[in-house]
Symmetry: D2
Subunit: 339 residues, 4 copies
């Protein structure tokens, strides 16, 4: 913590702040600057709460100097985390992970029709929602347990690993039993009860960035999961909310190198939700691979125009094949191979 | 739904779109415009999904024309909802409701020290968190059941109604037993499992706007609660996330008349979270009352500089008294009295 | 400037940074912290450029500690600036200044029809655009010199002071001759050539905040004007761009106390552009006065439904009279009188 | 224009709106919908101003249906514009254009030291500011005419085309004489006097997107230039302002395919200003090429740590060589070659 005094702070005011810091059990370090004095604080083990100091006469503002996360930080663990799902399927590291499938599992037939071309195109992970968080209470909310059973069948038939969302503590119990990765959606990024529960799950967690979350908040949400003991967390950029109106969200690809600088956790990109527009999914997928993402999560539907949700951002199987071909040409530039 | 054709769309393309609309069981209404043709759609009962049409040649974009909410809308119920909490305490209507108290219940003594001057200043509702959603897993998370019991004691001793947050389905069971109003926090505005649960609660719900939620999303979140049968919902503006850095959030007071135009539900304002800065709470409280809010929710702590959370945005009892005095002078301009 | 070392920075890296600072002619002050070391820099007269230091091994980031503005700051001049326009009309201080008039001067008759009820309602300043910056090159761009002459006639006939916009260096020459206050619009807030020119004008300047400008950027834009010698600057909040879609902009009233804390310059509020919706202008005007603004600038048109621009955010004379009456009741709560 | 009636609008109200539309000289087309009636308007040549209608009883809102731009639209001109600068150097089309150079021209030596490795790495266009718009009046503002002369020498010596910014009408006169492309900066995107002047320039214009500009506003700013007769405009994405704090701006790469869909003008990307962080320039450059941008504009300084401005976002010559190599491997995936 650093206390910035006002430029017209008096000697007495500076001395009073130092005495206050000492009375809190810490050590003050005054540093006179060109226009004002700063006072450093040492001897604290946890972050110092600023308001006791901000209220004193002559104090301008308090500036925190330590990062709030620990377990997710690269300072603690330098090597990038590689999550091994078995059968040679990994997320993080040298192989690009592609997760594809429909927004929602609608029926056994729809799921199988989606899975076949996805597997054929070389993807190894399948997504599909059984529990759907929807803005309107009147929209389709997913097949729940029946959807999970269909996903488990897809795994058997096509050899794909399953990624599906849990929306509350109850659904985690079910997802944990049927899937390979639990997804926590953007709207639940700060649903701390859910984060704690998936932190005790026995399978990895795909944590999506909230649409107004800063990098620090995303990492702190992951910290909740790691702090409960589950170190296998994959982060996911899926667009942030801005004034721009040509896409549903603004996909913030610069967060990929920022996460990789700050954390050892892998990060993937969701250009389907990140743009909300089918015709922008392939260009933004190429960009995501080029920026260095560890993978992609893509909505693919056998018949997008009939989809019960998110049809306008879903690729059809032919487009998905084109996507796989294009990113397969870019991945080697970054020293990456397709799974 | 309105289909906007491109300006260079051909007669054949327009006819093809009309045939497609008919094949979906609806009726097309082509309207030639100055630069392009629009095609209206009637005969639908639910919103028409746009993507089947957007994919056709010559189609520019599809524009929805119906509002997605029903029960919360003023079109359905013209009269403003007044929520009666008993003992002559109401929210909505002619009396301004002031909810005040500490961010978190820290101890019996702290709660009583906060409640005494709050009641003396004329407020009738007390807030205090027993379950605290915190960005960091290492921060104070609230006293849970013990906190609720302290709140119930405050109600008995000071005659104040109790508002406190539930963070998951489990905590609703407890809050419902001890409090008068269940608060759903901004981070949980789209935690649909929680919304459904409080929609079956027997007490009113205070629903805070998410920090990146549009007006429609806020109303749809309320619609979740009403659609489960609980019509006693109070909305709350508490600041949105913008690029501006002189406050923690940007308090969007214009949402107050916008809500009052669209919905019959009461709306209050939280200038404590909405600014994050103690010295801006009183000015923004005056503004909130002046714009026409149905009430305020204010963080008050007996000793802000010792608060375990949000100390830098909490008023002390003297400041709170000043706030009550100033808003008491503004309320009559809007034909409102203090409770 | 403060250099924050990484938590795993070595003793040697810290020493190297200190040597580098010395080689730049400054004095380093290392402060060991709970998780990492900070190094303060003194002896500099201007801000230290950070990148020479950020590139060194072990350095996390550099944090500036001095405010960039000087002349606009309250630290330099404690007393609030009051701008005297003659005839007992002032901006800043105890009297609320209300500037009203049409978006654009359209004709002599329209200007007179607007001015008569404005003067009758008690406002003392008249606004009207002669040079109109429009998003489209095909929209009405103003009457230019003819518009200025009409404004000068309005001043004579109704005793109102004139506020009108200049859009480039050329138009400043004309505006300076005919008006009492030169307005610099939001889109030109960082048009530095224009700022320098109005900094040499002989009349005061009304500087509108850009729709994505931070508080510091607004103050720095004002600093450009003061640094050229014109100390009579009025700041104006007119809404910022956010994701919210229920208003054209989000009016950020919290910037009013923030400006008043940081600067001695007066600040007024424009609820017409700040909301873009006629029915929200009166509520937000009440709120602006209640938060403590030094005045308002309001679009009033004799026949809003016939206005050539901004008709949907203009009040008619009856509504303006209501506005004056309502704010006249709120102003005394803040110790202010109507002009 | 489409008038959306409220769901409870009466038959009489609908009829009154239709009569009003007829009285304006247009033709109304009522379309009954599932929950409310829409009324289309035809017969207008320019956009219909909505407020005369919005004020009528029963009217919910008015929705514009025509795009406001004409000359920049792909509907008018299907083929992508290719700007030929001579000597086989083009922007738009099959060759990727790379513009590189220092933020500001600081001296003849600095410019030559930057240009030599830039030319050697294969770039054909050189950037460097002679007129610098700076947030602070106390910061370095550029060498002006002397800087332009240095740039002209660089052109002769290294065969590079010159891109440099004009900040007002006066500086356009000079830039036009010495440079090959006039840059209009982000802060001046809606400086309409400047846009009109460069619309009459004899050389092409590089127009940067404002940091809070929508796609439509960017295209309308370009429309100003084309409407004056200069059809050679290059658009540039350089980051928008959001709440995200891990970069200086949020680079919105999705605007690239959006521009390419709506307009025939070429679009390039500026990852230096778009991130503000040196270590993110190469990853985001790869992403920009992969998304399909027609080129890049990159800050390169011979000694970034000594730069007088933007040193923390400038690459050194070695990093620039790496960038050229990496994008050279991605360009062919999109069917593009390096110039």
């Amino acid at each position: 913590m650093l206390v910035m005094m006002k430029s017209n702070a008096t000697r007495e005011e500076i001395a009073a702040v130092c005495r206050k810091i000492e009375s809190m059990g810490f050590k003050p370090h005054p540093i006179p600057g060109s226009t004002r004095t700063a006072i450093g604080i040492t001897g604290n083990r946890a972050p110092v709460e600023p308001f006791a100091l901000e209220a004193l006469p002559g104090v301008g503002e308090c500036v925190p100097v330590s990062k709030p996360y620990k377990l997710v930080g690269r300072e603690l663990k330098e090597d990038t985390t590689v999550i091994d799902l078995g059968d040679g399927i990994t997320i993080g590291g040298g192989r690009l992970a592609v997760i594809a499938g429909p927004c929602a599992v609608e029926s056994r037939q729809q799921a199988r029709e989606a899975a076949a071309p996805i597997a054929a195109a070389g993807a190894r992970l399948f997504r599909g929602g059984a529990f759907k968080p929807r803005t309107s209470p009147y929209s389709f909310q997913g097949l729940a347990l029946e959807g999970l059973k269909i996903l488990a069948e897809v795994r058997e038939e096509f050899g794909l690993k399953i990624v599906t969302e849990a929306v509350d503590v109850e659904s985690v119990d079910l997802v944990e039993r049927y899937a390979d990765i639990i997804q926590v959606g953007a709207r639940n990024m700060q649903n701390f009860s859910l984060l704690k529960r998936v932190g005790r799950a026995r399978i990895p967690v795909l944590l999506k960035r909230g649409n107004a979350a800063t990098l620090d908040e995303l990492l702190m949400a992951a910290e909740y999961i790691l702090s409960e003991g589950n170190y296998r967390v994959i982060l996911c950029e899926r667009g942030i909310r801005t004034f721009a109106d040509h896409t549903r969200n603004t996909l913030d690809l610069s967060v990929v190198p920022a996460v990789q600088h700050a954390s050892h956790l892998p990060i993937i990109v969701d250009p389907s939700h990140g743009t909300g527009r089918r015709e922008k999914v392939i260009p933004m997928s190429r960009a995501a691979v080029a920026v260095g993402a560890d993978g992609l999560i893509i909505e693919v539907h056998p018949h997008p125009e009939q989809a019960m949700s998110d049809g306008n951002q879903s690729l059809d199987p032919v487009e998905f094949g084109q996507l796989m071909s294009e990113i397969g040409q870019i991945a080697p530039v970054l020293g990456r191979s397709m799974a």
